[in-house]
Symmetry: C2
Subunit: 474 residues, 2 copies
Amino acid sequence: MALPTQSDDFPGWYQAVVKQADLAEPSLARGTMVIKPYGYGIWEHFQRAMDDRIKATGHENYYFPLFIPAKLLEKEAEHVEGFAPEVAVVTHAGGEDLEEPLVVRPTSETIIWATYAKWVQSYRDLPLLYNQWANVVRWELRPRVFLRTTEFLWQEGHTAHETADEAIAEARMILDDVYADVLERVLAIPVHKGRKTAAERFPGAVETLTMEALMRDRKALQAGTSHYLGQNFAKAYGVQFQGRTGEMEYAYATSWGTSTRLVGGVIMTHGDDKGLRLPPAVAPYQVVIVPIYRTDDDRARVLAACDGLRERLSPARVKIDDRDEHRPGYKFNEWELKGVPVRVELGPKDLDAGQVVVARRDTGDKQTVPDGEAGARITSLLDEIQQNLFAQASAFRNEHTFEPANFDEFKSLLAEPGGFLQGNWCGEGECEAKIKADTKATIRFLPLEPGTVAGSCLHCGAEARERATWAVAY
Amino acid sequence: MALPTQSDDFPGWYQAVVKQADLAEPSLARGTMVIKPYGYGIWEHFQRAMDDRIKATGHENYYFPLFIPAKLLEKEAEHVEGFAPEVAVVTHAGGEDLEEPLVVRPTSETIIWATYAKWVQSYRDLPLLYNQWANVVRWELRPRVFLRTTEFLWQEGHTAHETADEAIAEARMILDDVYADVLERVLAIPVHKGRKTAAERFPGAVETLTMEALMRDRKALQAGTSHYLGQNFAKAYGVQFQGRTGEMEYAYATSWGTSTRLVGGVIMTHGDDKGLRLPPAVAPYQVVIVPIYRTDDDRARVLAACDGLRERLSPARVKIDDRDEHRPGYKFNEWELKGVPVRVELGPKDLDAGQVVVARRDTGDKQTVPDGEAGARITSLLDEIQQNLFAQASAFRNEHTFEPANFDEFKSLLAEPGGFLQGNWCGEGECEAKIKADTKATIRFLPLEPGTVAGSCLHCGAEARERATWAVAY
């Protein structure tokens, strides 16, 4: 089936790619999805890279329960206000009604900080540097596969520190050294890093740091957040420790998460009208070899050559598509749709000529490579493609980052072509809310370090206090 | 705190080890647990090994939702009867009562087979060879950390096949090449493989294959099961395909699972009165180096030597315990309790003598090794320890496998010393149930291949039809 083009119908294109490339499908319970093997493969490669970096920066994994007693959720006021409307509640189990309902975790700060109260007695017990990989549930009114699902998979880090400075540095280190690094080097998604406004902060956070990416429809995707939670959760759950001076103090917290929504981010950052384009670092197959033959004799020698090439490409992830029921042209289209970075064509004529045909998914370029050089050439091509997808996405993002001179221009640029709009803001939530009501654009981020701003607010004309970046977001 | 001895109070020993070695702790919702970093590390190493073998045998991972519409569970009669009493039910979500309650998955056959109905049209779509890593919930009346928890982590494989033979071969291959292999080579837990009786089968299975291990208290642990499900789920959920002859046929199923209960299995197979003994393959730290020093000068040169040794031991997982607040003796005890396979002691005198002291956790042996040989010696020691733990557990299991001559001897052996009891069985569920009511022993397994049996049933004296193995089980 032909895909809608991105320019005609981006949501339709997205849905069709998810379906036709066999990434995921909606499941029976409202807003849930089945992540199919090809989509899950992307997630697994992301997960491995993220997990390695989380560990390399000194964190260990653990696992907290799915179920949180409903009362526990209520102890941090902002947090419960933020999440209570979205939770799923177990009221019945083991054949009986429960005395106390259990909330299915929407995020785990509450149960984790209630437990840290037992783990932390002295400053010597700090810092706690932990992460977990888990499923979470948030009831979604407008579910959308990968981007906004009732259940999703994620990692959530939860650290506890002796001082505010240490916790602030942790939240920032996660953003810089872990999250942005994995996004840009592994998913090839360029990100802006910044602070959220009060209105966009995580419920219960003092400061939310974010990385924001631009999708091909010029909408922003919040790609991961890292929160400095101050002492809010320590106070709500009684996490006190004896400090170096002997005084009892409350611990300082961070939490940070990235999720399966990033698979949606990969699709919408790199995809084109022919389908997916996968960064080699997360592609389930980095290379597909399509053997071409008519006779059984040809078949045998072509497949033997394919096997040989696969071995030379190790440890790259190589698929030989030896299905007899489909013709090469059908296979080319299918692997193009599925975004495999490199396609190799190998037939009797190529064998006789001592060559293979190599096609890049990112540019569509096709070249003939001497067989003896194919291994090295394809291996370096995978690096080139990884770099090129990042470069293309960066160029696209930069071309769609604007500095409107006034609010009229803001609205006009937002409508066409859309993108990130940077300008002065008075710092008032009311003004921010009006812009949102008027244009659907939200402030995606403020600079990580507040600087001095000269001039007046783009919208209300009052004295500017922040330099903000707006976009319409997922 | 001193541990109870295994012989005095095995359950108390188990609980104390879990707590003192920082493996896990009970959480707030009934029967749930927090898997702490040290316990989760064991799980992660198991998981990686198991995942590698599942993939090496041709399976891919995917992810199905946590929530299953309650109605869906009801379609396979035996299955719902088996699981309905144990399920947790979400009745309220997103601020509203749900029209249809959602069951939190106790296992995923129902939702997976309802979905396979869409994925399978032709014999060309088969086999489906898939696995998922997920959390599941079964309401437990007598929860016990790792062994029996309301929520646990596991992998569940779900395959669909064109023929019964193929599905039967798959269930057996998983048992032999994946499960028993990982248990014996990675967890160093020797297992008996066999078939379950009808009474012990998975609800909805035609045949349940099992691997059974013996714990140090001479109780059996079901360590993993692989089910041949016949066409039961295909018929319940309408998974039909056009076969090679053009006829519509129902697909044949297998499912198979192993879980975090195996962390409990590791504790109870290898642990001794001093605490854990971890097989190197799953030990979060394979080697701990304890530096010994009094002066700052010594500290610097000893720690430098520790770093050097750690580098030479790469890629082994090495911890240098350089905590200043604890003395070496305290550290020795702690790492013994935590079951680290090899401990290295390194002090100024050792440095001067060009040697290190190496202690094995499995045997308690301590030897002095010339510094230049330490890397190679410790690396090969890790292999030896892995082998030795398996050999010790195998010897223990074999010493506690008996062939009682009659039912009186059966009861006497079961009471003291306990273990696996092998004998003839008439094949009647009624007789099996009486033995269980009388002795708490259940038939853990029958031979994988039924053979001819001569003689009479150990319990009722009727003609024997099977050779059975009983034990009291977790």
